[in-house]
Every structure is written in structure tokens, then in C-alpha cells.
């Protein structure tokens, strides 16, 4: 598919912080004004954000585009505070300016004829799916979400997600809400129920979960796609620092794809997911 010239491609732009809100434990929803990013963004893509005023921190930090609002020209990212970069991001104030590089990467695509979309998300792996469901709100197929976190204080925007899908299956490691256990158990049970529907699965989350989803996909001969989160220095194919191992490389000297440029979305059967 050739790119539509009317859509701006990746670029850098200073964005105004419109809001920042705590939506769960150590989890923040950051909204930035950037009409040019909003216009170009597609579900599954990400942005690489400059972390403010941090001399020691070198790289930008990549975050999935979580939500867009065409009217106000804003987009949001949903992030967890896990280290220095996300800590600094968490301290931004309304009106601050953040430099954003994006939109980056490819996007989620659903094959025609799909009548049941299964979304499997672990932790902040839920982030890209809000935008996806927003974009596909009018699509007639079933949208089923399996969403797992460690404990219920980590669930994000459950009301919003339940509005956008046909059914929402929650799991927590400690049983504090929904089913006790992992999304995998809950997903397996769903897949065991025979269905005539054309199912397609999308997943994002911790590596161990992605690997388990990949195995289940193989077991149930399910097609789908996975969004990966490699460490990234540039985010646009310049450093070659984010290789993803391919199961069946096109040529022996090309065993890897780049997560940032060829991904972050890959076919479930296309890549080797390891540590």
C-alpha cells in the first residue's frame, strides 16, 4: 500500500501538555496537543517522547498512542512509572512543552471477514487498544477483551473499555477483581468453546504473556498479531538496535526485522518471542 500523500508522515513537533491524570496505581494518562500527529496517527502506532529537563537521560521514551481526539487535536498516552524517564514524565505540568517524534511504526490491521476480534492485554499492554476500539467503533464484529493485571488497583479505564467492546474479561493475579489467575487461563476457556465465527486475535503486554498467547494461537490455529515493546534508541529504523527474530527469514542474512520500523505489530506466527 502506498502512503497517502495528504497524511503527514513521521515528524517532530513540540506539544503542549493539556492534562495529566493518575488513572491507576503508578499509571498516568498524559494528553498532548499535536494536531499534526493526530491527523497522521493510526491504531498500533507509537510516539517517541523527549523526557523533559533530564541531562543524564539520553533517549526519548516510546509510548503507544492510546487515544486521539480529532476535534481538539490532542492525543494521549497511558504510561506506567517504572524508571527515571517515566518518573520525569510524571512530573510535567499543564502548559509544559514536550517534543514528540511520531507517529512511528506500522499499525493493526484486521483481515476482511473477521467476525470476532479477540484482544488480549497484560498490564499497560492495554494502551494501544483504546485507540483501536475508538477507530473501529462502527465495525460490526464482536470485540472481546481479555485484560489482566497484578491487582485491581492497576486496571485502567474499565468503564470506557466496556463501552467500546462486546465483552470484557478481567483477571488479576491476586483475585482482587475478576477472575484470579492470568488472561491465558481465561482466554483458553473462551477458545475451547467451539465457534463458527472467524476469529482474529491481537495482543500486547509482558513477554511471558505474549509467548503464552503465541502458543495458544498455535494450538487453536488462530491467526492474529502481536505488538512488541523492544528497547529503542531512535524509533525510526536508524540505529538498528531493536531487532526481532523472524521465524522464517526471507534470506539467511536477514534473520531480524526491526521492532520500530517493521513493527511494532507483527503477525503472531511471524516472530520468535524470547526473553
Amino acid at each position: 500500500m502506498s502512503p497517502d500523500p495528504s497524511i503527514p508522515c513521521k515528524h517532530t513537533v513540540d506539544c503542549r501538555v493539556e492534562s495529566i491524570a493518575c488513572v491507576a496505581v503508578e499509571t498516568f494518562l498524559l494528553t498532548l496537543r499535536a494536531p499534526s500527529i493526530v491527523k497522521a496517527a493510526r491504531p498500533g502506532q507509537f510516539v517517541n517522547l523527549s523526557v523533559p529537563r533530564c541531562g543524564e537521560i539520553l533517549w526519548r521514551r516510546p509510548f503507544s498512542i492510546h487515544q486521539v481526539d480529532n476535534e481538539s487535536g490532542t492525543f494521549s498516552v497511558l504510561f506506567n512509572v517504572v524508571g527515571r524517564g517515566s518518573q520525569a514524565l510524571n512530573r510535567v505540568q499543564l502548559g509544559d512543552s514536550l517534543n514528540c517524534l511520531g507517529p512511528l511504526g506500522n499499525r493493526f490491521q484486521i483481515p476482511p471477514g473477521t467476525d470476532e476480534l479477540i484482544i488480549v492485554a497484560g498490564g499497560l499492554g492495554i494502551a494501544p487498544f483504546y485507540f483501536l476500539l475508538q477507530d473501529w467503533a462502527q465495525e460490526p464484529f464482536q470485540k472481546i477483551i481479555f485484560y489482566g493485571v497484578a491487582s485491581n488497583d492497576r486496571f485502567c479505564r474499565l468503564d470506557d473499555f466496556s463501552r467500546l467492546c462486546s465483552s470484557l474479561h478481567l483477571t488479576t493475579d491476586d483475585g482482587s477483581q475478576g477472575e484470579k489467575g492470568t488472561v491465558i487461563d481465561s482466554l483458553r476457556r473462551h477458545l475451547c468453546i467451539k465457534s463458527e465465527r472467524n476469529r482474529f486475535l491481537l495482543t500486547c503486554g509482558p513477554t511471558s504473556m505474549l509467548r503464552a498467547v503465541q502458543r495458544l494461537g498455535a494450538e487453536f490455529q488462530l491467526s492474529g498479531a502481536v505488538s512488541v515493546e523492544n528497547r529503542m534508541a531512535c524509533g525510526f529504523g536508524a540505529c538498528m538496535g531493536c531487532p526481532v527474530k523472524l521465524k522464517n527469514p526471507g534470506a539467511p542474512h536477514k534473520p531480524y526485522a526491526l521492532a520500530c520500523k517493521d513493527g511494532p505489530v507483527f503477525s503472531l506466527t511471524e516472530i520468535v518471542i524470547d526473553e
Binding site: E56, L58, A233, C234, A238, C239, M240, P243, K245, H253
Partner: protein
């Protein structure tokens, strides 16, 4: 008009701000992110005779004001480089410097021989940090005799300017610099990355698949400055400075210690427009101070 153009061998560069090998892909990745017209030269990702897959992940790790990489010179090989990468590079107004490497001395010669008649290539940079298989993996620029011999054999293949890129991971970088000057290099570029390492304390594993890797970014700038200063005093060919350059101020420091040009590396990842910004800032600075670039080069004032 304040003059900022430079010359290496027979080739003139409109300005002295280049982008460093391996940090700018084959330029096409930066389409839309930078004004290519403001970049004096694009130095390509290292090209080798045969395609290379590169190292296993993890290949990168962020450190204090720097980063480690062990990318492993993945590239499409010289043939596909000519067919697939040169067409875009040729459309740019910047000078195109092709960075080449090999695992044997013969490889360097073969790659340059393949490229010499390809239209659009202005100069070659020889990446001597590549491990030499014949020397048990020691890099080509860790031995003065070998570095000189490789330079001399490549010299026979081309009349285009040859820039020899040196590793700082040696006892005396000026010994190597003098040797490649003898071998016929038109210029030196320095520094490539410094060997470095990081450990994940939780898993007790190294952060890179290759255990050690190359350190780059602002963290290495003081070392790069000292090496470039040393080289400028030791050789009579021009020196192109590389190492942690993020802005005009950094570039000026390198000009003052004697560099004729600079290359922006790691900074391209965070600020893809960095090199073009430095060029614009340099032009403003020279105008404001009413200077030519040549007034800055080697203008360091040392007391006593």
C-alpha cells in the same frame, strides 16, 4: 559572506557538519525529519562485501549520558547497497561518504573497488574498528603496520578522498594516525566508540548479547576531544571529529582543538534534525562574530 566550506582531498564540502556512520542509516530513514541540504556529508552505515545479519539482541543499552551498542554492522552488502540504497542517496545535495569495512584487508579493497565507479559517491571512510579475523579479532586500527598496509592497498583502488576512521581503544591513537597518513589517507576521523559494559544486577547478566559493546554519546565527548587534540598535533592531514556532539557548542570545542569538520552520531537518534541545526547555528555564529570557519580551526589558546 562568512566561509564555512571545507575541503578534503579534491572534494569540497559546503559545510563541515556531517552525520556519523551507523547513526543515520542510509539517510532514507530521516526523510521528513531533517533538512538534508544543511548536512555537509552523509556518512552511510558501514557497507561490507557480503551482507551481514548483525548481532543477536539485546543490542543497545542506555547509560549515564550515553549508550552502549553492539549492533554488529548489519548491512545489505555492497551489491544491494548499490542497487537499493544509492538511488535515494544520490538525490541528496549533501556529499555522500560511504563507510566501508571488512574482516580481512582484501575485503576493504574489494568493497572500494566495487564502489569506486558508482555515481554519487564523493569519498570513502574506512571503518578500522572492525575485528580483523586474521588478527584474532583485533581491530584493524589497533596495529599501526596493518592499518598502514590496508590504507595503502585501498589507496591504489581509488582517487576519491579516503578518510580513515580510528578507534580510541588503543594505547596511542597518534601512532595509528601517523601510520594511515603514511598509507595515503586524505583525512582521519575519530573517534569510534569506546569499549564499555553494563550488567543487569537482578539477573546477573550483561546488558548486551555480546557482553561488551561500544559507548557513545555525550559521556565520551571529553575523551574524544583529547584524542582529536592529540591527533591534530601529530598528523598533517585534516581530522574529522566524532564523539558526543549534540550542539554547536560541542562542535566549536572540536574546531578549536583543530578538527576541520565534525560528525554528529548518537544525537541523531534523539534529535534527527541535529546536524542541520548545528549547521544553521554555525552560520549564525560565524556571521555574528564575523569569522570564517578557518579562524576557528585550531584556535585553542594554551597558556605558557
Amino acid at each position: 559572506m562568512n566561509e564555512i566550506a571545507i575541503r578534503i582531498g579534491s572534494v569540497e564540502f559546503a559545510n563541515p557538519i556531517m552525520v556519523a556512520s551507523g547513526t543515520f542509516g542510509y539517510a532514507e530513514e530521516f526523510d521528513g525529519l531533517v533538512d538534508f541540504r544543511e548536512i555537509g556529508a552523509v556518512v552511510t552505515k558501514t557497507v561490507t562485501l557480503e551482507p551481514r545479519p548483525g548481532n543477536a539482541p539485546p543490542r543497545i543499552y542506555e547509560t549515564a549520558a550515553g549508550m552502549l551498542n553492539s549492533i554488529g554492522l548489519p548491512n545489505v552488502g555492497v551489491k544491494d547497497f548499490i542497487d537499493q540504497k544509492m538511488p535515494f542517496l544520490r538525490t541528496l545535495q549533501s556529499r555522500i561518504v560511504v563507510n566501508v569495512a571488512g574482516v580481512t584487508a582484501k575485503d576493504y579493497v574489494a568493497v572500494v573497488a566495487c564502489l569506486d565507479s558508482v555515481p554519487g559517491i564523493d569519498a570513502f571512510e574506512l571503518n578500522y574498528s572492525c575485528p580483523n579475523v586474521k588478527q584474532g579479532g583485533m581491530s584493524f586500527s589497533s596495529n599501526a603496520q596493518i592499518a598502514e598496509a590496508v590504507t595503502a592497498s585501498v589507496r591504489k583502488e581509488t582517487k576519491k578522498p579516503l578518510i580513515a576512521k580510528l578507534t580510541p581503544n588503543v594505547t596511542s591513537i597518534s601512532d595509528i594516525g601517523r601510520a594511515v597518513e603514511q598509507g595515503g589517507a586524505d583525512a582521519l576521523s575519530a573517534i569510534n566508540t569506546l569499549v564499555g559494559m553494563a550488567v543487569d544486577v537482578r539477573t546477573r547478566k550483561p546488558r548486551l548479547s555480546t557482553i561488551t559493546g561500544g559507548l557513545s554519546g555525550p559521556a565520551i565527548k571529553p575523551i574524544a576531544l583529547a584524542k582529536v587534540y592529540e591527533l591534530c598535533k601529530s598528523v598533517s592531514i585534516p581530522v574529522v571529529a566524532i564523539g558526543g556532539i549534540m550542539n554547536l557548542h560541542d562542535a566549536l570545542e572540536f574546531f578549536m582543538v583543530g578538527a576541520i569538520a565534525v560528525q554528529v552520531g548518537t544525537a541523531n537518534f534523539m534529535n534527527p534534525g541535529c546536524a542541520a541545526e548545528i549547521t544553521r547555528d554555525l552560520r549564525c555564529y560565524c556571521q555574528q562574530q564575523d569569522l570564517n570557519l578557518s579562524d576557528l580551526i585550531g584556535s585553542l589558546e594554551v597558556d605558557g
